[in-house]
C-alpha cells in the first residue's frame, strides 16, 4: 500500500477509534474529518477496530515514510506538479469535509428540553440538566466557529496554490523551509481576513459566551456537590470574603457598627458590575502619603486576628503592610 494511502487509512482508523471511544454525542466533531476517508484508495484499509489496527497502520506508515526517505530516488513527477496535485487533493478533501459538516449540521441538534424537576433529587436534576444544556450549546457554538476556521484554511490553501502558480512572481522558493514559511504566511493571511469579518466576531463571541455559561453551570453544580464532601464551595468563599471585609471595615473604624452581624446570610457571588463596593476596598488617599504607612499597623493587625480565628491566611487580601524583612 503506498505511503499516502496508509496515511489516509491510519487517519480513518484513528478517527473511528476516537469516535467509538467518545460516543455518538460527539458525532458532529468527527463528521468533517471522516470526509478525508472517503477516497477509493483507502477502502481496502483493514477493518480491524480499536487501537491495535491504528497502531499497526501507524508503524506501517512510519516504515513506508522511512523507506521513501532512504530511497531518495528521483521522483517521476516534478516537485512543483506533485505539490500542486497534493494541494488540489487537500482542497477537495477539505471541501468534501465541509460539505459533510454542512449536511450534519442541517440535522438539528437533539433538544435537551428540561421538564420540571421533582422528587428527592429535584435539585440535582435541575443542575445536571442546566449543565447538559450549556454543554450542548457550547458544542453547537464550537461547530459554528470551527466551520469559519475551516473556510479560512481552505482560503489559505487556495491562496498558496495560486501563489505557487503565479509566473509573474519574482519570489524564489528554493528550500523546504522557505516553502513552509510561504505556506504559513498564506494560511495566516487568510485567517486574519476571516478574523476581521463580522461573522467571525459573532461566532467567536458566541463560543466564548457558551464556554462561560458552562463555567457558570459547573460552578452551580460544584456549590451543590462540594459540601457533600465537606469541602468549601464558591458560595462559602464568597461568604468568608464578606465576613472578612466586614471585620476589616470594623477594625479600621472602631466606632462603626459591626456589620458582620447583619450580613450572615450566605449568598452566591453577584454581578460584579452591580455589586456594591466592599467596605474594605475603601482606599487610602494617595494625596496623603503618610496614611498608608501610618494605617498599616491598624489594618494589618486586625485581619491577622481574624485569620487566626478562621484559620485562614488573609495576607493576600490585607491592606498595606511592610514586610518583616
Amino acid at each position: 500500500m503506498p505511503w499516502e494511502a496508509l496515511q489516509s487509512a491510519f487517519m480513518q482508523q484513528l478517527l473511528r477509534f476516537t469516535h467509538d471511544a467518545a460516543g455518538s454525542a460527539r458525532e458532529n466533531h468527527f463528521a468533517g474529518w471522516r470526509g478525508f476517508g472517503t477516497r477509493e484508495d483507502v477502502q481496502d484499509a483493514p477493518d480491524e477496530p480499536g487501537p491495535w489496527a491504528s497502531f499497526r497502520l501507524f508503524v506501517e506508515t512510519l516504515t513506508a515514510y522511512g523507506d521513501w526517505l532512504k530511497s531518495s530516488r528521483p521522483r517521476p513527477v516534478p516537485v512543483a506538479a506533485a505539490l500542486d496535485r497534493m494541494l488540489g487533493d487537500v482542497l477537495n478533501g477539505l471541501e468534501a469535509a465541509l460539505s459533510a459538516r454542512e449536511a450534519l449540521q442541517a440535522t438539528p441538534w437533539p433538544e435537551l428540553s428540561m421538564g420540571p424537576a421533582f422528587g428527592l433529587t429535584r435539585e440535582w436534576q435541575k443542575l445536571g440538566g442546566e449543565l447538559a444544556q450549556a454543554m450542548a450549546a457550547e458544542h453547537k457554538a464550537t461547530d459554528q466557529l470551527q466551520k469559519l476556521q475551516w473556510l479560512a484554511l481552505v482560503d489559505g490553501i487556495k491562496r498558496l496554490r495560486a501563489s505557487l502558480n503565479d509566473e509573474q512572481s519574482e519570489a524564489r522558493i528554493d528550500s523546504l523551509q522557505t516553502l513552509y514559511d510561504h505556506f504559513i504566511a498564506h494560511l495566516e493571511d487568510a485567517y486574519q481576513d476571516t478574523l476581521r469579518s463580522d461573522a467571525f466576531v459573532v461566532a467567536f463571541g458566541e463560543r466564548a459566551n457558551a464556554g462561560l455559561r458552562v463555567r457558570e453551570a459547573f460552578r452551580a453544580l460544584g456549590c451543590k456537590v462540594l459540601p457533600v464532601f465537606g469541602l468549601p464551595s464558591a458560595a462559602d468563599l464568597t461568604e468568608i470574603g464578606r465576613r472578612l471585609a466586614a471585620l476589616e471595615a470594623n477594625a479600621a473604624s472602631p466606632s462603626a457598627m459591626p456589620p458582620v452581624v447583619a450580613e450572615q446570610t450566605a449568598t452566591p457571588a453577584k454581578n460584579p458590575a452591580k455589586n456594591p463596593r466592599r467596605a474594605s476596598q475603601k482606599t487610602p488617599s494617595p494625596t496623603k502619603p503618610a496614611k498608608v504607612v501610618k494605617s498599616t499597623p491598624k489594618v494589618a493587625a486586625s485581619p491577622r486576628t481574624v485569620a487566626k480565628k478562621l484559620s485562614f491566611d488573609i495576607g493576600s487580601i490585607s491592606g498595606g503592610r511592610r514586610p518583616k524583612s
Binding site: R73, G156, I173, Y191, L237, A273, Q281, P284, P286, V293
Partner: protein, 350 residues
Amino acid sequence: MAKLELTWEQIAHELAQWEKKLAHGVQTLRGLGNPVPGGTPRRLVFECGKARLFHYEPESPTVQGVPTLLVYALVNRASMADLEPRRSLVRSLLARGVDLFLIEWADPVGLDAERGLDDYLNHDLAGCVSFLQTLAGPINLMGICQGGTFALSYAAMYPAQVRNLVTTVTPVDFHTPDDALSRLLRGIDLELLGRQNLSGDALNTLFLALRPYRLIHQKYVNLVSQMDDPAALATFLRMEQWIFDSPDLAGRALYEFAQGCYRENALATGSWRIGERIVDLAKITMPVLNIYARDDHLVPPAASLALQALVGTDDYQAVEVPGGHIGIYVGGSARQKVAEAVSTWLAART
C-alpha cells in the same frame, strides 16, 4: 510554477537534516533542566494589597536621583522584563544608571474575584507610590502594556506624584481599525466574563487565536533550526515558561478594564472612571515618553500614538522600536534601543 525550485533529493536531504537536528535537540533539551525567567538581584521593600514592590540593586556607579517605578500588567508576569541576563530590560536600565523599582502583582485567589481596578490602582499602586514618595518625592513612572495604561491612569489621577511618565506598548485608543483583540472582545458578554476570575490559560487561548498558524505551528517547527544551540533553546524555554505561566485575572478588574477600555474606549474619550475618580488624560502635564513597537499585533502603533493628542503636556516624545509586542523587550538591538531611549530621556529630566 516558476517560483518553486525544489527537487526531491533536496527535500529528502532537508528532511534528513531536520530530523537529525530534532534528534540532537531532544538530547540537548534533556540536559537543560527547567530554565526560568528572572535572576537580577533585587529586594522586596514593600507590600500593599496585591502589589509587591521590589528594588533592584544598582549596577552603575552613578545612579539617577529619582527612582523609577516599573508597573507591569495584570496579564502575564513582570519577569518578561528580566528574562535572562543577556535579554533583560531591567539589567539594561540598571547599567545605564536608572534606579529601578518594580511592582509584581500577586496572583488573585478565589476571594479576589471582586477585586477591581480601584483596589489595584487607588490602593495598591497608590500605596507603593506613597512609600517611594516618602523617600524621594515625586517619582518616575514607567508602564508596560496594560501596566502602561495603569501608569497613565495613575498619572492622570495624581499628577503631582509623578515627575516623568514613560509608557511602552501601551494601548490608549482601543478602537483603532487594526485592533484584532478589541474586535474579538466585541462579541463577548463581559458581565458574564467578569463573574469569576478568568484563568490564565483561557486568556492565552484568546491570544493564540489571534495568530494560530504562527503561534501554535510555525514557532515550534522553526524551533528545530535552533536546537543545536543550547543557549537559544534555554531562551526559548524561558519564553515558553513566561508565556504560559499566566496568572488568573481577578473577575471584577477584568470586567472593568474590558468594559471601560475595550468596549467603551473610555480612556480615550476621557470618561473612564476608576473608583471615584475620572481619568482625564489632559491632566497629564509632566513629560511623557511613549515607546511603541512597529510590528505590534496586540497593541497596534495607532492605539499607542493616540496618546499625544490627549495629554496636557508639551514635553511629549514618541519613539518607534522595530519589533513585536514582546520582541522589543527581549530582542537584542530592540531592547537596547528601549533602554537607551528611556535612560537618556529620564537623565535629561532628572
